[in-house]
């Protein structure tokens, strides 16, 4: 039996050997493949934990749902990072550095950006339908269209992303509320004209307050506000503007008249005073000079009045005759009869002939 058995044993390997060897070979090679595949899968499993964070975002790793790290270290900056694969770790990416923009959804009539750009807005009806046309009520109970655009960035990404299902919408509603609230405390002319900047600042202040109260984790950068009267009343509002322009024009005219008249009065006054000053100086100077001459001449005069008089007269006549333009010597007629003399005097300079006619 044992021999048989042995024989059998001895025999079987012969025939099985080839088969089992082939099988073993096959198994071994497939095991090798499986091993390689498994190794690859393990690599892939851990390799899948690599992820990159872009420059405009941060990331948070949630390990079993809990953020990994403490304080500021929770947030991963731009670059390559690694986390354990799902379901142990989960990566949440948060847009952060990029500026976020929201626009108000209330306060403006029904229109589209395209229609606004092309200037082909739907004509305004006589009334405003609250279901489709937005507007705000002003403090003086006027109806006004207003809209705002808010630029902000996320300051506390954990709060922004893990605190709100839709933080952007919350910001938007805060902006809507700010517009509504601020309009309710300003008069229509202040919003449109007199305190435009103050209105904008008040809207921004209210949004900032709300964002703080609601702990939105954002920093408001800029808030732009636009407002206009209802289209139904555009023409009458334009008339007010015209009236205001005319008033300003009249005032400017009045002020320029004022300037002109006061300047010329000032100049006139100065010249009057100057003339008077000159007169005073001249008068005093001339009378002093006269007095000096008088004092100088007096001794001569008193010595020989006649000679003095004749000399001065002749001297004076000499001076006078040098200055006189036309001198006509007319000796007495021999018969002692008076002469008749006809003079034609024309002191006007002759007019230039070529002045007026071409």
């Amino acid at each position: 039996m044992s021999h048989d058995h042995e024989h059998h044993d001895h025999d079987a390997p012969e025939t099985q050997d080839a088969g089992s060897q082939a099988l073993a070979e096959a198994l071994r090679s497939s095991f090798a493949i499986v091993k390689i595949v498994m190794a690859l899968m393990v690599l892939a499993f851990f390799g899948s934990g690599f992820f990159t964070v872009g420059p405009q975002e941060k990331a948070v790793i949630l390990r079993f749902g809990k953020p990994v790290g403490e304080g500021d270290k929770i947030l991963l900056n731009a670059g390559l990072h690694w986390s354990l694969p799902y379901p142990i770790d989960e990566v949440v990416k948060i847009p952060i550095t990029e500026q976020q923009i929201v626009s108000s959804t209330i306060g403006w009539y029904l229109t589209t950006p395209e229609a606004e750009l092309s200037g082909e807005e739907m004509p305004a009806g006589p009334t405003l339908n609250p279901a489709i046309d937005g507007y705000v009520l002003t403090a003086d109970r006027n109806i006004l269209h207003a809209r705002a655009t808010l630029r902000y960035h996320i300051d506390d990404p954990m709060r922004y992303v893990f605190g709100f299902t839709n933080a952007q919408m919350t910001v938007q509603n805060a902006l809507n509320n700010a517009l509504l609230y601020t309009a309710a405390s300003f008069n229509v002319d202040d919003i449109l004209l007199n305190r435009v900047d103050e209105f904008r600042e008040a809207v921004q202040l209210r949004v900032t307050d709300l964002a703080e109260q609601q702990q939105l984790g954002i920093v408001i950068e800029q808030c732009d506000v636009e407002s206009r009267p209802p289209r139904q009343l555009q023409s009458v509002f334009d008339q007010v503007t015209d009236a205001r322009v005319n008033r300003d024009k009249a005032l400017i005219g009045a002020h320029s008249y004022e300037n002109q008249i006061t300047n010329s009065a000032g100049a006139q006054a100065v010249s009057i005073i100057n003339r008077a000053e000159a007169d005073r100086t001249n008068y005093v100077a001339s009378i002093t000079a006269e007095a000096k001459r008088f004092t100088d001449l007096l001794p001569g005069y008193e010595t020989n009045r006649n000679l003095f008089a004749q000399m001065t007269l002749v001297q004076t006549m000499g001076q006078v005759l040098t200055n006189v333009q036309d001198k006509i010597y007319l000796p007495q007629r021999a018969d002692g009869q008076p002469r008749e003399l006809r003079l034609m005097l024309n002191r006007e300079p002759p007019q230039p002939k070529n002045a007026a006619s071409p």
Partner: protein
């Protein structure tokens, strides 16, 4: 032996993973969860992390978003205390604060919770607005504007309702989103606004005319004053000159005849200055020379 060890390790790992899947659940940072045992809520989980539970069907976990959710009610018409119709929308931020309470009340359905919230908001809104005048909503005087106070009152009412019913909901904020007027009222407002504008136009015209007239007449008055002052000053200055001259006059008193003579000589010089024509005969000095030449008279 070595192979067996590997097999055992792999098997153990598989068992551990399977057990983890059965017995452990995760609650994320943004989530809140309630564990139920045979359908009965037993444990609230408010902090993120991994937690243990018995496998289904013994225990079950229901997870909810614990972040603040936005919700706004429908645009609805409300009457103020002074009978003004307002159409108002309010928005809220609310969150599920107690999953154990929240789950059985709404079967975990957020829309169902929002329906309940909406009716609470509507009731509170109507009640609070009915106790305020329109001037509390819009007012240029910050003392009289009760915008924030009204929002606060509505919020308080909703909160009171929520806590009485113990819904497991927390109201984080509530504010107006939109306040408008019924369509027919907008036409009335338009005609009032038009009248106001026209009044402004006429007052601007009047003010412009009146103010520019005022400016012009004030300028005229000012200018006349300046000139008159100057004239008065000029008179005074000339007077000073005359006074100064008067002090010199006594000099001439010494010989009035000579003074008179000199004045006439000066007058002659001045009157026969430039551009004059002089007709004279031989009697006019010095041409009297023609007539009477001085002779070497023997008389002298």
């Amino acid at each position: 032996m070595k192979q067996n060890l590997l097999t055992i390790v792999i098997g153990a790992v598989l068992v551990i993973i399977f057990a983890l899947l059965l017995f452990v659940f995760q609650v994320r940072q943004s989530e809140i969860a309630v564990v139920t045992t045979f359908g009965k809520p037993v444990q609230n989980i408010t902090e993120p992390g991994a937690y243990f539970k018995w496998p289904w069907p013994i225990q079950n976990v229901y997870k909810f978003d614990k972040r603040i959710q936005n919700f706004e009610d429908k645009f609805s018409q409300t009457l103020t205390a002074d009978n003004n119709n307002l159409i108002v929308t309010i928005f809220t931020g609310w969150e599920i604060s107690d999953a154990k309470e929240f789950y059985p009340k709404f079967l975990g359905s957020v829309p169902a919770a929002q329906r309940a919230l909406e009716s609470m908001m509507r009731n509170a809104k109507n009640a609070v607005i009915a106790s305020h005048n329109l001037s509390d909503f819009v007012n240029s005087d910050p003392q009289q504007l009760k915008f924030d106070a009204i929002e606060g009152e509505i919020k308080a009412e909703v909160q009171a309702e929520l806590s009485t019913n113990n819904y497991g909901i927390q109201l984080d904020f509530l504010a107006f989103k939109k306040i408008e007027l019924p369509e027919s009222v907008s036409a009335t407002v338009f005609s009032r606004m038009t009248a106001e504008r026209q009044q402004i136009i006429s007052s601007l015209q009047f003010a412009g005319d009146a103010e520019s007239n005022n400016i012009a007449s004030a300028a005229d008055r000012l200018a006349a004053g300046v000139v008159n002052n100057a004239l008065a000053d000029a008179t005074r200055i000339r007077g000073e000159g005359e006074a100064a001259a008067a002090q010199v006059l006594p000099v001439f008193q010494q010989n009035p005849e000579l003074a008179n003579y000199l004045l006439r000589i000066d007058a002659l010089k001045q009157s026969l200055n430039q551009r004059s024509t002089l007709i004279f005969d031989e009697r006019t000095p010095p041409f009297d020379l023609f007539q009477n030449l001085p002779k070497n008279s023997p008389t002298n």
